[in-house]
């Protein structure tokens, strides 16, 4: 593992290496309620064994890793041997074989993120924290890992904390993030729900409600999801007036009009708004126009009015020829 210093095999904690499993004192117990929840998961599938991965997430949500007790718990409920459960648990990267810190910090070091700085970020955090891959700081706050591609290449380089995205990081921003986490702060992710902790998010992954009160649950769902790269294509299309050809429906039905996003409602963070501003300042007139259009101070655009929605929508007659001719590819391949 050139890029990462030492061999991945040496660092691996999942897969076929059957190292000794640490016994950890003072683990929260798997209670009758945990069992009831596990049975609820088993009932969701035509065959209960399908719930094994969710159940292992559930075990992690209580104990922070797949403990020997958790293996036995799953084995008992599913009528399998502990070896059968262990064989599954050790196959998957997200199932941890020793206790995870309060937060799991994952740095993407796959090629694209690595060339844009992901490798530097991982090395800096590893040096700062004094831990390597899949190791936890002595104070129990952070488990660090290098991750494979996290499906956020357009936001590279990315770091996740408890699988919530912190996009377009650099060494300094990642250091600041980890420092804040160690001080007990929970900086909001670029994309994702307000930060909880590794155990909390494991409950979400088990398929159970993570939040007791509805408002917190809704806030989690409403956490931002769209970064500038997510929206760059739709915004450019709006600026250029480019649309898909309208439906060939005999009676025109209103096709969806692309709503003009307003700040704070598209899940934009201040950082993303700043990025928008930067784009606008870049001097590209088309993009500047677009950014102004999205500015929070801009009055509600006419596109909201049903009568004028057509002008914004995909069914505007004037566009038909233009978009149609443009997309009915005469180009032979």
């Amino acid at each position: 593992m050139t890029a990462l210093g030492s061999s991945r095999e040496a660092e691996a904690t999942t897969g076929l290496d059957a190292g000794p499993t640490a016994h950890v004192a003072d683990l929260p117990p798997l209670t009758a309620q945990t069992e009831a929840e596990a049975r609820e998961l088993m009932a969701r599938y035509p065959q209960p064994r399908s719930a094994l991965l969710p159940m292992l997430h559930l075990v992690q949500s209580v104990q922070g890793y797949v403990s020997p007790e958790g293996v036995g718990f799953c084995a008992r409920l599913l009528g399998l041997t502990k070896a059968e459960i262990g064989a599954v648990a050790t196959f998957y990267t997200m199932f941890k074989r020793h206790p995870t810190g309060e937060h799991l910090v994952s740095v993407c070091t796959n090629t694209l993120c690595a060339v844009l700085g992901g490798k530097r970020i991982y090395d800096a955090l590893s040096a700062d924290l004094g831990v390597g891959h899949d190791q936890t700081t002595a104070d129990g706050t952070i488990t660090l890992e290098h991750a494979e591609c996290l499906a956020a290449c357009d936001h590279a380089p990315v770091v996740t904390v408890d699988y919530e995205f912190y996009d377009q990081q650099d060494v300094e921003s990642a250091r600041a993030l980890v420092t804040a986490l160690r001080m007990g702060e929970k900086p909001p992710p670029t994309r994702g729900a307000p930060l909880t902790d590794f155990r909390g998010v494991s409950r979400q992954l088990a398929g159970l409600s993570q939040h007791a009160d509805a408002a917190a649950a809704q806030a989690a769902v409403d956490g931002p999801s769209a970064g500038v790269p997510t929206l760059v294509g739709v915004r450019l299309a709006a600026e250029r007036g480019e649309t898909a050809p309208p439906y060939d429906t005999p009676e025109p039905e209103p096709a969806p009009a692309p709503d003009v996003p307003t700040a704070g409602t598209t899940g934009e963070t201040p950082a993303e708004q700043a990025a928008d501003t930067a784009v606008a300042a870049a001097g590209n007139p088309a993009e500047r126009a677009g950014a102004e259009q999205h500015h929070p101070d801009t009055p509600e655009p006419a596109g909201r009015q049903p009568a004028e929605r057509g002008a914004e929508g995909t069914d505007r007659p004037a566009t038909q020829g233009q978009a149609g001719s443009g997309t009915s590819v005469e180009r032979e391949v």
Binding site: L112, D154, H155, A220, V221, T230, T249, D259, V333
Partner: protein
């Protein structure tokens, strides 16, 4: 070619992930339309549209649906036709460079759910699962919330919209294994086993989840289905080439000014997409790129005008894959990039078959010594030889995919490998006398 936002059209809408927004913007109109049709009519419509799978392989979607054995009228069904049918959504996005499904599920989860409902009805299924990559927790969260909304509104559950047809939809989180993006490994994982691929045949259409007929479709494929229903086959064919039509989300990343999601007709070229994305970062030039993720052979600047559709990219020597366009410039070492990709495959190889399990690790060892300036003259042929022994001899496509970056980097950038050899090894190779000195990208540029 212009941008044509269809699947991405709601991305910028206010609270785009809610049922309220989705319904306001034509949401679930396609499901109502679909339920007024027979399942066979729906399968025929999707066949006629020419929609091909967006997960990488490009298999015709309607044909896949039609492979599900169905009871014949007037006969008592036996065998697979009598078994329950399942629909499984492959939302295990993890191919390096690929970042289209996660943003789609976060921004517009109902479009996927509507596509699931339509597809399940078309194949006469009453149970569907979305297998979401575990790391994509916010997408999982949005999907779970959207599924709850859809149940409450009668788009899922018993007697969907009064049609008499029932469907259950479960959102299922994976646990970190790239191999589970392979459809039979995904089924194994979904059944609660290690995610290792199954031998085919039997294909999932006959013996899939729990041994029953199963359709496995990618997120983007199913999210496209409602628009096919709304617009019709002829409308859909107005996007892109005849044999590979439709709008497509192209994901640009890496050394471009404005990385991100650009939805355009199939067959849009990299030159056009790069122009939309503001080009390669100032002061630098394109060196190599992937048309569809790390498992697709590299392209170079000479491929800028290849129409990015399944057939054209195949003809040009690569694969459309997931239209994950990773852009690298002259400061990026092709050998080091190839090493990182190969380390990825070695890590993610499930261990089931020998060529992939052993071969990917051997490739890493050879590439490592090359990158460290300790390569041997014979290593270039050795890499090719190992790759040849993985390609076509592996159990599943992961092994094949692992050889793409090796073979294509050798093909287009052999001199970059030679330049990393120590001088005496270059002499041994008989190349240093003939070659112009090659300016090697400094190793460690990635660090």
């Amino acid at each position: 070619m212009p941008l044509t936002p269809v699947l991405t059209q709601r991305f910028a809408a206010e609270r785009s992930w809610t049922l309220e927004t989705y319904e306001r913007l034509d949401g679930y109109a396609a499901l109502r339309q679909a339920l007024a049709m027979t399942p066979d009519e729906l399968v025929a419509l999707v066949k006629d549209s020419g929609l091909r799978g967006r997960g990488g392989a490009g298999f015709p979607t309607g044909m896949k649906w039609s492979f599900i054995p169905q009871p014949k009228p007037g006969e008592t069904p036996t065998g697979p036709a009598a078994a329950p049918k399942y629909l499984v959504v492959n939302a295990d996005e993890g191919e390096p460079g690929t970042c289209k499904d996660v943003p789609l599920m976060m921004a517009d989860p109902h479009s996927l759910i509507e596509g699931v409902a339509i597809a399940a009805y078309a194949i006469r299924s009453h149970f569907a699962v979305i297998y979401v990559r575990g790391e994509a927790v916010h997408a999982h969260r949005r999907l779970v919330a959207a599924v709850q909304e859809a149940y409450a509104a009668g788009y899922l559950g018993t007697d969907v919209l009064g049609s008499g047809w029932d469907v259950e939809l479960v959102v299922h989180a994976g646990a970190g294994a790239y191999i589970c993006g392979e459809e039979t490994a995904l089924l194994e994982s979904l059944e609660g086993y290690r995610g290792q691929p199954r031998l085919k045949p039997p294909f999932p259409a006959v013996a899939g989840l729990y041994g029953s007929p199963t359709v496995i479709n990618n997120v983007e494929t199913l999210a496209t289905v409602p628009y096919v229903v709304r617009g019709g086959a002829e409308w859909f064919k107005r996007f892109g080439p005849e044999k590979s039509p439709g709008p497509k989300i192209y994901s640009l990343s890496g050394r471009v000014v404005h990385p991100g999601q650009y939805e355009a007709p199939m067959g849009t070229t990299m030159r056009e997409l790069l122009a939309m994305a503001g080009g390669v970062r100032p002061g630098h030039r394109l060196k190599f790129w992937t048309p569809g993720g790390s498992s697709t052979p590299y392209f170079t600047p000479e491929h800028l005008d290849v129409p990015l559709d399944f057939d054209s990219v195949g003809k040009a020597g690569s694969m459309l894959g997931t239209t994950a366009l990773m852009v690298f410039d002259e400061t990026d070492s092709i050998v080091e990039a190839t090493l990182r990709f190969t380390e990825f495959y070695a890590h993610e190889s499930c261990g089931k078959c020998t060529p992939c399990r052993e071969g990917t690790s051997w490739l890493v060892q050879v590439l490592e010594r090359l990158v460290h300036g300790q390569g041997k003259a014979t290593d270039l042929d050795l890499l090719t030889d190992i790759a040849d022994n993985i390609l076509g001899r592996s159990f599943c496509a992961l092994g094949d995919g692992a050889t793409s970056c090796i073979a294509s980097s050798m093909k287009y950038f052999r001199d970059d490998y030679v330049a990393l050899l120590p001088p005496d090894e270059q002499v041994r190779l008989g190349r240093s006398l003939r070659l112009e000195p090659v300016a090697a990208v400094p190793v460690g540029a990635m660090a």
